[in-house]
C-alpha cells in the first residue's frame, strides 16, 4: 500500500519535473502554459493532470482560462489523429449553418488546418470530450479562481480574493502572499490582507491563529464577522483545545467589528433619513408655494409631479433608443438619437429643465382654466383639482400604459459606495444636493427678485397689493406655474429613485400636504424643517416597526403635534382673525 503510494508520488514528481523542466528550458512565453495544459489534458495519470493544472495559476493567457472553463463543463475535446496522436482542441463559439465550428489547438492557439491549408470544421457531437473527474473539476475551479486574482479589473480581483479567503484553505496562502507583493490597488490589497488573516485564523497553532484574529478586528473586516462568531461558538464549546487567549481575542475582535457596523448603520440611517427628507422636501416645496403661499389646495399636485417623471421618460427615449406612446389612441413613434455613454447621460440635465417647463405649462393651464375661479372657495378648489387628478391619471394610463415605465439612471447617478458596510447610493446623494439647490433657489427667487417681492405682497394682502399696482392676476399665474414647475422637477428627480407609473402622485400627496401643514403654511423654512423631521423619524422607526407601521405612527404624531402647535412649527404672524 505504502509502496504503491510512494510509487505514484514518484511518477507524479517525474511528470511534474518533466513539465517544469520544459517550462524552464523553453522560456516563459505564453505558449508554454498552453503546452502544459495540452499535456495535462492528455495525461493518463489523474494526479499528474492535477499537478499540471496547478501550474497554470500564474498564467494570464485568455485561451488557457477559456480552455480550463470548457474542460470543467466537458466542452474541451480530444481529437485523435490517424497517427494516433492526441490533440486537445477547443471549438470556436461561432457555428456555421450545419452547426460546425473551427477547432482551436490548445498547444499553440492555432486553428486546426487540413492538408490543403483550409480550416477544418467539426461538429461537437462527433468529438470525444476530455475526461474529467469531480476532483479534477474542483481543481480546475480553484485554479480558475486563483487565476481570477490576476484579472485586470480590480473589482473582479477583489471579489475573487474575498471568495477564496472565505474558503480558509491554507493552500492558497502562498498565492495570496505572492499577489500581495505585486498588488497596487488599495482595495484589493485590503481584501488580500483579510483573506490571509482569515485563512490563518483557521490554523492549528495558537501563535498564528491569535494574531490573525486580532488583525481581523483591526481591519474591521465585516466579511469575516460570521466566521469569527462561528469560531467563537466552537471555541467556547471546547476551551481546552483552543485556549482562553483565542476566545478573548475572538470576543474583542467581534465587539470591535460589530461596533464598526453599528456606526455604519447609524450613518446609513441618517443618510437614508436625509435622502427621504430631501425627496419629501422636493415634492412638498411646490406644494408649499401653491398651497402655503396661495392657499390653493391642488389635489393634482402629485399628478403634476408625474408629468415631470413622464417628461424625463420621454427625454430619455429621445436621447436613447426612441420611444412609443399612444396619443388619444393613435400610436406615435419617435425615433431617438441613439446616443450612448456621456451623450446619453446628458439627457438627465435636459430632462430636469424639460420637466420644469412641461409641469409649469400644465400648472399654467390649470390656473387659467380652473383655479382662478376658485380663489375665494378653497374647499372647492380641492374638489375640482381632484377631478383634474383623476383625468390626468387616466391620460397617463392611456398614453404610456398602466404599467410602470423604465427610466434609466445616467451612469453618474448609478452606483454607490459603502461606509462601514452601509451602502450609500450616488442617486441619493444627488437627491440631497438637488434638494438643497432648489430650496436655495426658491429662497433667492422669493427674497431677491421683483417677482418674489410681488408674490409675497399678493400673498400677504391681495387687495392692498392690487391697489399699489401689482398685477395680482399675473402674479397668481406665475406663482402657480412656479409651484407646478418645482413639482415637475421633483417628479424628474423621483424617476431616479422610485417607480414611474400613473399613480406615482397618489403615493406622495398625503405626505406632502401633511408636511406643509406641519411646517406652517406659507413658510419655506417650516417646510424644510418638517420634511427633515418626518424623513428622519420615518427612517429611525422603520427598522423596528416596518415601513407601514412607521408611516402610521408618523401620521399619528403629526396629528398630535398639531394639537400643541395648531399652525405648524413656524407660524407666520398675522393680525387677521383667520391667521
Amino acid at each position: 500500500m505504502d509502496m504503491a503510494f510512494l510509487l505514484r508520488r514518484i511518477v507524479i514528481f517525474l511528470i511534474a519535473a518533466v513539465i517544469l523542466s520544459s517550462l524552464f528550458a523553453r522560456g516563459q512565453d505564453t505558449n508554454e502554459f498552453r503546452r502544459i495544459l495540452a499535456a495535462a489534458v492528455i495525461a493518463e495519470d489523474g494526479d499528474a493532470q492535477l499537478e499540471g493544472i496547478k501550474q497554470l495559476i500564474n498564467s494570464s493567457d485568455e485561451l488557457v482560462a477559456r480552455a480550463l472553463a470548457a474542460w470543467r463543463l466537458g466542452e474541451l475535446y480530444v481529437l485523435t489523429t490517424d497517427a494516433d496522436e492526441k490533440i486537445p482542441i477547443l471549438l470556436d463559439s461561432r457555428l456555421d449553418e450545419e452547426g460546425r465550428a473551427r477547432a482551436i489547438r490548445i498547444r499553440d492557439g492555432e486553428y486546426l488546418k487540413g492538408e490543403t491549408g483550409e480550416e477544418k470544421l467539426f461538429l461537437a457531437s462527433d468529438l470525444t470530450p476530455a475526461d474529467t473527474t469531480s476532483r479534477l473539476r474542483r481543481t480546475i475551479k480553484t485554479t480558475l479562481d486563483l487565476y481570477a486574482m490576476a484579472n485586470p479589473m480590480p473589482r473582479m480581483r477583489r471579489d475573487a480574493v474575498v471568495k477564496l479567503g472565505q474558503e480558509q484553505n491554507p493552500d492558497y496562502l502562498p498565492h495570496f502572499e505572492a499577489r500581495q507583493k505585486i498588488e497596487t490597488d488599495p482595495e484589493v490589497k485590503r481584501a488580500l490582507n483579510e483573506a490571509i488573516q482569515l485563512t490563518r485564523m483557521a490554523d492549528e497553532s495558537a501563535a498564528i491563529r491569535n494574531p490573525a484574529i486580532i488583525a481581523l478586528g483591526e481591519l474591521n473586516s465585516i466579511n469575516s464577522l460570521h466566521f469569527l462568531k462561528q469560531f467563537r461558538t466552537t471555541a467556547t464549546n471546547d476551551p481546552a483545545k483552543y485556549g482562553q487567549e483565542t476566545i478573548q481575542a475572538l470576543t474583542a475582535s467581534i465587539v470591535k467589528i460589530e461596533n464598526h457596523i453599528w456606526w455604519g448603520n447609524v450613518v446609513g440611517t441618517v443618510f437614508r433619513g436625509f435622502s427621504l427628507a430631501s425627496v419629501l422636501l422636493i415634492a412638498a416645496l411646490g406644494l408649499a408655494i401653491t398651497f402655503g403661499l396661495m392657499g390653493v389646495i391642488n389635489m393634482a399636485h402629485g399628478e403634476v409631479m408625474a408629468v415631470g417623471s413622464y417628461t424625463a421618460f420621454m427625454v430619455q427615449g429621445i436621447f436613447g433608443t426612441g420611444l412609443m406612446f399612444s396619443l388619444f389612441g393613435n400610436p406615435i413613434r419617435i425615433k431617438g438619437f441613439g446616443l450612448t455613454g456621456t451623450g446619453f447621460d446628458a439627457y438627465f440635465v435636459v430632462a430636469l429643465m424639460a420637466s420644469f417647463i412641461m409641469a409649469a405649462l400644465v400648472g399654467l393651464l390649470l390656473e387659467r382654466g380652473i383655479i382662478r375661479f376658485l380663489y375665494k372657495r378653497p374647499l372647492e378648489s380641492l374638489l375640482a383639482t381632484w377631478g383634474v387628478s383623476l383625468v390626468l391619471q387616466q391620460i397617463f394610463r392611456h398614453t404610456f400604459g398602466a404599467a410602470n415605465v423604465q427610466v434609466d439612471s445616467p451612469s453618474f447617478l448609478s452606483g454607490s459606495f459603502t461606509f462601514n458596510g452601509s451602502p450609500i447610493g450616488f442617486n441619493r446623494i444627488f437627491v440631497i444636493s438637488f434638494a438643497l439647490f432648489i430650496v436655495y433657489g426658491t429662497y433667492l427667487l422669493l427674497t431677491k427678485t421683483s417677482l418674489g417681492l410681488q408674490i409675497r405682497a399678493v400673498m400677504q394682502n391681495r387687495n392692498m397689493a392690487s391697489c399699489v399696482g401689482v398685477r395680482t392676476d399675473r402674479v397668481n399665474m406665475m406663482t402657480f406655474a412656479l409651484g407646478s414647475g418645482l413639482a415637475g422637477m421633483a417628479g424628474c428627480c423621483l424617476s431616479q429613485i422610485a417607480n414611474v407609473g400613473p399613480s406615482l402622485g397618489q403615493s406622495y400627496i398625503v405626505d406632502c400636504f401633511m408636511i406643509v401643514v406641519l411646517g406652517g403654511v406659507g413658510n419655506i423654512v417650516g417646510t424644510v424643517t418638517a420634511s427633515m423631521g418626518v424623513g428622519m423619524t420615518n427612517q429611525i422607526l422603520e427598522p423596528w416597526l416596518g415601513a407601514v407601521l412607521g408611516k402610521i405612527i408618523v401620521l399619528g404624531a403629526i396629528i398630535l403635534f398639531l394639537q400643541w402647535r395648531p399652525a405648524g412649527i413656524f407660524v407666520t404672524k398675522s393680525r387677521s382673525l383667520e391667521g
Binding site: L379, G387, V517, L555, G556, Q563, L577
Partner: protein
C-alpha cells in the same frame, strides 16, 4: 331654506319613499322573473347598496352642507361600521368556510392559532362579536368614539377649513394602511368576505336580500327625516351660522367646538350605520373602502347632488353610483374622464349641484331680464350680478 316642511317636498319624498320601499320590493317578490316589470334580486341588492351610500352622503351633507366642515375621512367611519358588523358575520360562517375550522378562514391562513393559542386562534377582541347585538352596538360606538377623539383633538385646537380636510384625509390614510396589514387581525387586504348567514338566515336568499334592502331604504328615510328635523331646530340654525361665519358665532358666546364635535360624531354614526348595511348586501368589506379617494368620491356625490339640502345628496349618491355601475360596464376606460370632468364642471358651474339647478336657471333668467331692462338704466345691472350668493 324654510323652517316648515313644504308641501311640494313632502310630496316628492312621499313618492320616492313609496317607490323605493313598496313598489321595487313588490316587483321583486310578486312578479314572475320573465315579466318585464320584474326586478331581480341582484338589482335589488345593487339598489340597496346605493341606498347605503345615500345614508353616507346624508352624513357628509350634515357635516359639510350644513356645518361647513369638509371631512375627507367619512369613508373611514363607513368602513368601521361595516367592519363591526362584518366581524359578526365572519364569526357566523362557523365551519362552513374553506378550511372547515371554527375560526374565519383568513385566521387559519395567517396562522392565528399559533399566535392566540388560548382562544383557539381567535384574537380576544373578536370574541364579543359572536353576539349580534354587541356587533350592532359597536356599529354605532366604534365610529362615534373614533370621531369623538379625532374631532375633540381637531376642534379643540381650532383646526378648520382645508386643514381639517387634510388632517381627516391623513387619518383615513393611516387607518387604511393599518387595515391593510395582516397582523392588524382584520383580514389584511382581502378584508372580510364570504359571509353565509345573518341572524340564522341564509344571507344570499332572496328574502333576506329583500329584507336588507328594506332596512336600507327605511333607515335612509329615517335618517332623512332626522336630519330634516335637526336642521330645522335652533341647533340647525347655529349649525348654519357656524358654516357661514364661525367667528361671529364664537364671539356671540357659543362654544362652536362642541357644536362641531356633536355634528362630527353624529355624521360618523350615520356613516357607520350605512356601512353596516352596506356589508351584508355587498358581502364584503376591505380596506380599499376607506382610502382617501373613496371619501373624496363620496364628497363628489354630495357636491353633484347639491349640498345644504337634504334631497340633493341622495340624488347624487344614487345617481352617480347607478351611472358608475352602468359606465364601468359599458365604457370602463372613459369613466375616470367622465367623473373627473363632471367634478370640475360641477364645482365651477353648479355650486349648488343638481338640486340647485332650477334656482340657478331662475337667477340667470332674472339676470337676462334685468339686462334687457338695464339698457335704460345701466347702474342696476351691477347690483343684480352680485346677488348670486355662493355658500362658503
Amino acid at each position: 331654506m324654510t323652517q316648515s316642511f313644504p308641501k311640494r317636498e313632502f310630496l316628492i319624498v312621499g313618492i320616492l319613499a313609496a317607490i323605493v320601499l313598496v313598489v321595487l320590493p313588490c316587483l321583486n317578490a310578486f312578479t314572475p322573473p320573465e315579466s318585464a316589470f320584474h326586478v331581480s334580486t341582484f338589482s335589488l341588492s345593487l339598489y340597496g347598496k346605493y341606498l347605503t351610500y345615500a345614508i353616507l352622503a346624508l352624513g357628509i351633507n350634515l357635516l359639510w352642507g350644513y356645518t361647513g366642515i369638509l371631512s375627507l375621512g367619512q369613508c373611514l367611519f363607513f368602513s368601521l361600521g361595516g367592519y363591526a358588523l362584518g366581524m359578526h358575520l365572519m364569526l357566523m360562517i362557523g365551519r362552513l368556510g374553506q378550511y372547515k375550522a371554527d375560526i374565519p378562514d383568513f385566521m387559519v391562513f395567517l396562522e392565528f392559532p399559533a399566535k392566540y393559542p388560548e382562544t383557539g386562534g381567535l384574537p380576544p377582541h373578536w370574541i364579543p362579536f359572536k353576539s349580534f347585538w354587541f356587533a350592532a352596538l359597536m356599529v354605532v360606538v366604534v365610529p362615534a368614539v373614533v370621531a369623538y377623539i379625532f374631532g375633540w383633538l381637531a376642534f379643540r385646537s381650532r383646526i378648520k377649513g382645508v386643514y381639517f380636510s387634510i388632517l381627516s384625509q391623513a387619518l383615513t390614510y393611516a387607518a387604511c394602511l393599518m387595515f391593510f396589514r395582516n397582523d392588524f387581525t382584520f383580514g389584511g387586504n382581502n378584508g372580510l368576505t364570504d359571509f353565509k348567514t345573518i341572524l340564522g338566515y341564509d344571507i344570499n336568499s332572496p328574502g333576506v336580500k329583500r329584507a336588507l334592502y328594506l332596512c336600507s331604504g327605511g333607515l335612509l328615510l329615517l335618517t332623512y327625516l332626522f336630519c330634516r328635523w335637526l336642521t330645522s331646530t335652533k341647533f340647525g340654525l347655529i349649525q348654519r351660522a357656524i358654516r357661514d361665519s364661525e367667528n361671529r358665532v364664537l364671539f356671540s358666546g357659543y362654544a362652536t367646538a362642541n357644536f362641531k364635535l356633536f355634528v362630527f360624531v353624529l355624521a360618523a354614526i350615520i356613516s357607520g350605520v350605512g356601512g353596516a348595511l352596506f356589508v351584508p348586501q355587498v358581502s364584503a368589506i376591505n380596506p380599499s373602502e376607506m382610502t382617501p379617494a373613496k371619501s373624496l368620491e363620496a364628497v363628489v356625490w354630495v357636491a353633484v347632488g347639491g349640498r345644504g339640502n337634504m334631497l340633493g345628496p341622495i340624488i347624487g349618491a344614487v345617481g352617480i353610483n347607478a351611472f358608475k355601475s352602468y359606465a364601468t360596464h359599458a365604457f370602463a376606460e372613459q369613466w375616470p374622464y367622465i367623473i373627473g370632468f363632471l367634478f370640475i364642471f360641477v364645482t365651477l358651474f353648479m355650486p349648488k349641484g343638481i338640486i340647485g339647478l332650477p334656482e340657478q336657471f331662475r337667477t340667470i333668467k332674472r339676470r337676462i331680464q334685468q339686462r334687457n331692462k338695464s339698457v335704460d338704466t345701466p347702474a342696476e345691472s351691477a347690483v343684480a350680478t352680485t346677488s348670486e350668493g355662493v355658500a362658503k
